[in-house]
């Protein structure tokens, strides 16, 4: 039940979040505001999501995933419903920016993987995390065109209300995490939150995981934000961009699951290193080979396969080394690093283009960062801490 709850939670929360981009044009036109107004609300949302994740994770670790998911669902639904009645930039920033940003921290990977990790035996944890990540990937793949279909049939305000109703369903569904929350109460009186933070801070591997996930955020945000513009610059039609994005979404589902499975069979740090090395190879081939519709779509499939496979492995490695008692918080900190990387990837891509007139430098930076990430995962000490030998992980 915990797994099914987590899967539905991630499909809806990640899917709806991914679809906000298609609302840009109708909202900007209807409210007669510049595109940067909507862009600022979404940027605020992503930043708050990352910054709030360690704190919502800590709350979930202390008080349970049920309460955090219910609070997240209520905030998410309120954010979408109130956005439907927004008439000015401030309204958009408060609803889509602040409310939905905080809601995402309560309804996505940090909360869900922590809840799932507590009920799944360690040997099946990686595959369970892979399944949950694949569900989020499916949501991102399926909800975007689904929301576009809604926009085709109704106004953006009505579409937001429909999405608000859909996300509100997570509130009653959250009780599916009850079995996981009972595990928290079973282990009350064990390690304190402060001690868990201190332990992670003193572990070099935790810092290396943070650095690696920063690179992951940089890559995915740069590619998702700038690939269609890059392809358009090179004279390729929008249909090629559409299929490249669709292939990223489609192969991300398979990659998320497969790398979760591989993380259960091989040392997770090696698989992570291999993913980043493969990203370096894929990006190198993409910019080295003559660009065509075929290479663009093939690049989408290849980079999509490597897209979120890092999530079950990174979260699995955190759980393996530090245990699952404070997984939501510890993974939340690593995720915050991912979001900082994502911010720089999206913004840095645009900045580099404006300054240098092309994306070449940022592609090269992406390759260098991928090689850096591939290297830094190798020395991570991935043995469970001695403390975990005495108590179950």
């Amino acid at each position: 039940m915990v797994m099914i709850t987590g899967i539905i939670c991630l499909i809806l929360a990640m899917g709806i979040r991914q679809s906000f981009g298609i609302f840009l044009a109708p909202i900007a036109m209807d409210l007669e505001v510049g595109r940067q107004v909507f862009g600022l609300a979404i940027a605020l949302q992503n930043l708050l999501w990352g910054l709030a994740q360690p704190f919502t994770g800590a709350i979930a670790d202390q008080f349970g995933a049920v309460r955090v998911t219910i609070a997240g669902a209520v905030l998410y639904a309120a954010g979408l419903a109130l956005a439907a009645f927004s008439s000015d930039p401030l309204g958009l920033n408060v609803t889509l920016g602040v409310l939905v940003g905080l809601a995402l921290a309560g309804t996505t990977y940090g909360t869900v993987l922590g809840a799932v990790g507590r009920v799944v035996p360690p040997e099946k944890r990686s595959i369970a995390f892979g399944l949950c990540t694949a569900a989020g990937s499916f949501g991102m793949f399926a909800v975007v065109p689904g929301a576009q279909a809604l926009l085709d049939a109704m106004s953006w305000r009505d579409a937001f209300l429909v999405l608000a109703i859909a996300i509100a369903l997570l509130a009653p569904l959250a009780f599916g995490f009850s079995a996981s929350d009972r595990q928290i109460r079973r282990h009350e009186g064990g390690q304190s939150l402060g001690s868990a933070i201190g332990e992670a801070r003193g572990h070099s591997g935790y810092w290396l995981l943070n650095a690696g996930f920063f690179v992951c955020g940089f890559h995915v945000a740069f590619v998702a934000t700038h690939l269609p513009a890059y392809l358009a610059d090179e004279g390729l039609p929008p249909s090629v961009s559409a299929w490249s994005l669709a292939m990223i979404g489609l192969f991300n589902i398979f990659g998320s699951y497969l790398f979760g499975v591989l993380g259960g069979r091989f040392r997770q740090k090696w698989v992570l290193s291999a993913i980043y090395l493969a990203r370096a190879v894929v990006i190198t081939l993409f910019i080295a080979l003559p660009l065509s519709g075929t290479t663009a779509v093939a690049f989408g499939a290849a980079i999509g396969f490597l897209w979120l496979g890092t999530v079950p492995l990174t979260s699995g490695l955190v759980a393996r080394v530090f245990g699952v008692r404070y997984l939501s918080m510890l993974y939340g900190v690593v995720f915050a690093s991912h979001q900082v990387g994502a911010f720089l990837g999206a913004w840095g891509g645009g900045l580099a283009y404006d300054l240098l007139g092309s994306y070449n430098s940022i592609w090269l930076a992406s390759i260098a960062l991928a090689l850096f990430a591939a290297a830094i995962h190798l020395p991570i000490k991935d043995q469970p801490l001695a403390r975990l030998a005495a108590t179950p992980a």
Binding site: L24, A25, P228, S239
Partner: protein, 51 residues
């Protein structure tokens, strides 16, 4: 007998979930076929960066 039935149930469950996943993915792919180009065109920042 019992283990055979368990294995069969497990296989059926796996096939069922796989079939459900394949159907959902095929449905989403059909939506991309129908709306993919519109999605790209509806995000003007992708198409209107200074050249």
């Amino acid at each position: 007998m019992r283990s055979g039935r368990t294995a069969w149930t497990s296989l059926g469950g796996t096939l069922g979930w796989s079939l459900l996943a394949a159907t959902l993915i095929a449905g989403a792919l059909a939506l991309w076929w129908r709306y993919g180009e519109l999605i790209v065109l509806s995000q003007p920042s992708w198409m209107c960066l200074p050249r």
